[in-house]
């Protein structure tokens, strides 16, 4: 066991760290001590996702039914992946529609105030 002090956002935490030796069998312990770490990885999204039929290649579908509040992009604009393209409002909450990859905005298919259906194409990217 090693005692360490870890500071998170200015607050100090004292933690005990146990080094686990995979080779020894701590027989008889009823419970494991701190777990082996295992990262959860994201799978590559399957090719045939429930992508709406209306959305062609490069078109970004609405994730849910709602109303267009703000359009943050214009045709011809070059955008990076993760940039907010459109803000929708639905169910008392804003939902940001982000660029899945970098590219150029080819067309914006809705205008502010429009109601949109789930899966309706909002923007096409090139």
């Amino acid at each position: 066991m090693r005692k360490l002090r870890v500071t998170v956002d200015g607050k100090a935490y004292e933690v005990l760290v146990e080094e686990l030796d995979g080779g020894s069998a701590p027989a008889g312990t009823p419970h494991p001590s701190r777990p082996a770490t295992a990262e959860i990885t994201a799978p590559v999204v399957a090719a045939s996702g429930p992508s709406p039929s209306a959305a062609g290649p490069g078109s970004i579908p609405s994730p849910l039914a709602g109303r267009v509040v703000t359009i943050h992009c214009a045709p011809g604009q070059v955008v990076e992946a993760g940039v907010n393209l459109i803000t929708l409002e639905a169910m008392k909450m804003n939902t940001f529609v982000q660029a899945p990859s970098g590219g150029t905005v080819k067309a914006v298919l809705v205008k502010e105030g429009d109601g949109v259906e789930e899966g309706q194409p909002l923007v096409t990217l090139e």
Partner: protein, 514 residues
């Protein structure tokens, strides 16, 4: 005086033949492809030297199609028990190098015997599924073997945890044994799982599809929701098994592996206050809240890729193992829909079986509206959340972060559903419906007469009801707390409920709407 050397030689020769499985060349070929063998998987799972094998000398009894001349070492499945992080675990691992890992009568009997052993001794079962399917030469005996394994899966369900690793093919009926377990882990690339493959689908329906679309790990993780974790390779799958086991007890009468020796930290966490957006319409990433709430930001998320508007997973809060169920406002506004209700209900029921306290983080605007949802049976599916929470007798701690509207508020473990403690942030909006909708009903005539009055009425309603204080005034909330207090307060609530015992009228089981 010593044992005859010839007896030892025979034993060693027999053992060596069984350990070689389908042949040393086949084992090496697998390893070259980056795949573990059936025994490699068990070696990686168990602490070295602790594995006790069952039925190593098993042989099939098939007398058809020339099978009587063939020897199938261990009958294509290695079974036994050993220690994982110091705790006994039973495992069976199908050997694809022996007759394609096919399941015959003896193979099935070995699996069933191992499971019987596990349930009698109260230990988890971890399976490695890697099999071409039924051993056709054995005819209906192999089919019966599947039936016996399924029956045993059901018999064990709710008594000891069952974890299935899909490490190779798992086709047709074979897929139903993993499906009856608690958690499924699939190895990306090398595993597939399906009832009818692309060829059968094409022949029967004319639909063209690929194996990845039908039965790949990504499809099952993100679309069908059939599995819980995706592993990059065999070694990663085994890491995930160990991590999962570190949160759960060996059987349903034990407590999970809490670590109550950690000193309680009851000071505030100002960073939690800073996470909360000023505007109630700005989405808050609930994973950020969870990271601050749990020990070492170590949250083991279950079914991360599926039904993402609800987040579920395991963690410890100041040493206490918990199952966390949280709305994710970043996805579909945090609404409960058909899939997220199924996901949440199943997770809650697992935690309840294995004495794992539930911590529910609420930010839900309602159930997902839509024709598809209604016709798809959102009533039946949403009811699973109510049923699972209502039936759960483990400690139930609920924290209402922001939105808590209508039936969805109840379905996120309100006090009425038996929560032991309900905390609300000052940003909580606990109401029967949103202000816009409520005002249209309450003041229909007034608004028809004077449409300009609507905005004022909405603001008035929101002030009065879109807050935690009306619910708090009716004792539906234990206390309204600063977000900064959340970790300390939840930790104390957990310590205060660990000895909770709730008994209900005896019955076979409730009738959860399926």
């Amino acid at each position: 005086m010593a044992i005859q050397q010839s007896k030892l030689d025979e034993l060693h020769a027999r053992r060596e033949a069984v350990l070689a499985g389908g042949g040393k060349d086949k084992l090496e070929a697998r390893r070259k492809k980056g795949l573990m063998t059936a025994r490699d998987r068990l070696d990686a799972l168990f602490v070295p030297g602790t594995f006790l094998e069952f039925g190593m000398h098993a042989e099939h009894g098939c007398r058809n199609f020339g099978m009587e001349k063939k020897s199938l070492p261990a009958d294509a499945v290695v079974t036994g028990t050993g220690l994982v992080d110091g705790r006994p675990v039973t495992s069976f691992s199908q050997d694809f190098t022996v007759a394609g890992g096919s399941l015959g009568g003896v193979h099935a009997q070995k699996i069933v015997d191992a499971m019987d052993y596990a349930v009698q001794s109260g230990m988890p079962v971890v399976s490695f599924n890697d099999s071409g399917g039924a051993r056709i030469q054995e005819g209906v005996e192999s089919l019966s073997g599947y039936g016996k394994v399924f029956f045993k899966n059901v018999y064990l369900s709710g008594v000891v945890p069952q974890i299935a690793v899909i490490a190779g093919p798992c086709a047709g009926g074979a897929a139903y044994s993993p499906a009856l377990t608690d958690f499924l882990i699939m190895v990306k690339g090398q595993a597939n799982m399906f009832i009818c493959g692309p060829d059968v689908i094409l022949a029967a329906t004319g639909q063209k599809c690929t194996m990845d679309e039908v039965g790949g790990a990504a499809a099952h993780a993100a679309i069908s929701g059939n599995i819980h974790f995706v592993a990059n390779d065999d070694a990663h799958a085994i890491q995930l098994v160990k991590k999962l086991l570190s949160f759960i007890p060996s059987n349903n009468i034990l407590d999970p592996p809490h670590d109550l020796s950690v000193p309680l930290q009851l000071g505030p966490d100002p960073g939690m206050n800073e996470l909360v957006p000023e505007d109630s319409k700005s989405p808050l990433d609930v994973l950020d809240v969870i990271a601050r709430l749990v020990d070492d930001a170590d949250f083991f998320e279950v079914q991360r890729e599926w039904a993402k508007s609800l987040v579920v997973g395991f963690a410890r809060i100041q040493g206490v193992v918990v199952g966390i169920i949280a709305n994710q406002p970043k996805v579909k506004a945090g609404t409960l829909d058909i899939d997220s209700s199924d996901k949440g209900a199943r997770f809650i029921r697992f935690c309840n079986i294995f004495n794992i306290p539930l911590v529910t983080l609420v930010d839900v605007p309602g159930f997902m509206p839509g024709l598809q949802q209604e016709r798809g049976g959102i009533i039946r599916h949403g009811a699973k959340m109510l049923f699972a929470y209502g039936a759960a007798t483990v400690p139930k701690i609920t924290v209402i972060l922001r939105k808590a509207y209508g039936g969805a508020y109840l379905a996120m473990c309100s006090q009425d559903l038996g929560a032991d403690f309900v905390y609300a942030w000052p940003t909580a909006e606990i109401a029967v419906m949103g202000a816009e909708g409520a005002v249209k009903i309450l003041y229909k005539r007034e608004i028809e007469k004077d449409p300009s009055s609507e905005a004022g009425l909405i603001a008035e309603y929101r002030d009065k009801f879109a807050s935690p204080y009306q619910a708090a005034s009716r004792a539906m909330v234990t206390d309204v707390i600063e977000p900064a207090q959340t970790r300390a307060v939840v930790a104390m609530a957990l310590r205060n409920t660990l000895s909770k015992r709730e008994t209900r009228p005896p019955k076979k089981h409730g009738n959860i709407p399926l």
